[in-house]
Symmetry: C2
Subunit: 276 residues, 2 copies
């Protein structure tokens, strides 16, 4: 994915651009993915990222590039930590810390994968919209970098549901083998659908024009190797909504049931004023 | 708690000390709590902290003070974000970001509290140790700021158990009413017992001398008001251990069943070399 390929400006400074999309603000997963690219460029590739923690500070402007400035806060014996600030128009729009580790062996356990239908039996998001007879959102009329298949699908139905959902996702096409690339693509994709989970008990969804939603933070832990161009199950729940915010959790499994990542995200969820 | 009372050095710089404990390194919850004090001192008290994300970078030295330097990265209309770096001997030992919000109303849901016995029916940690006939750790021979009652107690038994546990906790004594103080005390206390959860399937516990454990990160989300000097149930599980690391999750409830906070922590867990 070209949008995750950054231009080096100085040793610790990188620049990224947004795809030519007609968005009002940059997709959060893109900034998080590009920030992880910037951090990883300053770390020995033998050390693998095992976690990241980020805040979204201001809406990103898709019309101008994003500057990523890396602070090498720690180079330790086993762990390397980086802080990254994403800047536009002279202001921080995003900040992230990420930790990298020399691979080691240790104790092993993992939550099991929930039983769900395989992705091949599930319609694409485009097919979901078409069969529901609702207007196709603009972005679904273009090729999408990530194929997402909802196991549970609220669709245009606003009936309140429990705050749980499962989606299969994978990058379209075949990616090179470099493990960090798969981690970056999952970072990008993990910002999709997660916050929606918090809206399910309230009859909402991300394509509900009466809800205003924005990611506030994003945290990930990477547990085992995986490929982002093969199907991954994203099992999501939301323990809480209060104070205008919703909190969601995700577990990511390969299709053979291996737990590969854990995700947390809080987002702002407001009832938007009706248009017009 | 005096250890959470910082000395102001300059507008954005504060200094904290460690209690006179015979520890080899500073307790992680103390640094996280003091960093939150520092961040909150630079924010309008009408804005309440709703989340924090932190990395532990180097072991803290209890013999010298810790300097906390605050970066006012964002002052927005509804949200304020702060970054804090804790410094000793010229090096960063810890970094944190925290987000504060003007209180607002919104959608509301929460996971229910698990059913467990009340804290009054459970022995103190000191009583657990004494009745198990094992040597009392030094720190249990002194008054403790946090009273912890384990619902499930592995004790000196090393039988592997599922990665779930529940503890009741509260600050000893009565705290002033200021809400941020209760948040800070929970931040301090939430670093206790959480990582142990990841060792349960491997027959370990925090007082197992054959396991080396160290917090790597700490993230919290605050959902609703609470008092830290009244009992809180800390419901913990661990979705994963791999690569020398364990990941634990916590949900914190008041005793009437209100969900007040969510906690995530990854820690380093190594089989230590036997002493001698």
């Amino acid at each position: 994915m070209k949008l995750l390929d950054l231009e080096p400006i100085e040793v610790n400074i990188f620049r990224g651009v947004s795809p030519d999309e007609n968005r009002q603000r940059i997709f959060g997963g893109q900034v998080a993915g590009q920030a992880l690219v910037a951090a990883a460029r300053t770390v020995d590739p033998e050390r693998h990222v095992h976690s990241l923690h980020a805040y979204f500070l201001r809406a990103g402007d898709p019309k101008v590039p994003v500057l990523y400035e890396v602070d090498r806060i720690r180079d330790g014996g086993s762990f390397t930590t980086r802080r990254v600030v994403a800047i536009q128009h002279g202001r921080a729009i995003f900040n992230m810390s990420a930790s990298f580790q020399v691979p080691e062996e240790g104790y092993d356990h993992a939550f099991p994968m929930p039983e769900v239908p395989p992705p091949e039996e599930l319609p694409t998001m485009r097919e979901r919209f078409l069969s529901a007879g609702v207007d196709l959102p603009d972005f679904l009329d273009r090729p999408r970098p990530i194929d997402i298949r909802h196991v549970d699908w609220a669709g245009p139905d606003r009936t309140p549901r429990p705050p749980h959902q499962h989606v299969w996702l994978r990058a379209d096409g075949t990616l090179p083998d470099d493990p960090i690339l798969h981690t970056i693509v999952l970072t990008y994709a993990s910002d999709m659908t997660l916050l929606d989970t918090a809206t399910l008990p309230h009859g909402g969804s991300w394509f509900d024009p009466t809800m205003f939603m924005a990611s506030l933070d994003h945290a990930m832990w990477f547990h085992r190797p995986f490929r982002a161009d093969d199907w991954l199950l994203y099992a999501q729940d939301s323990p809480n909504a209060s104070g205008g915010r919703g909190l969601s959790r995700g577990l990511v499994f390969t299709r053979d049931g291996t737990l590969v990542a854990t995700v947390m995200q809080e987002g702002l969820i407001r009832r938007a004023r009706p248009a017009g």
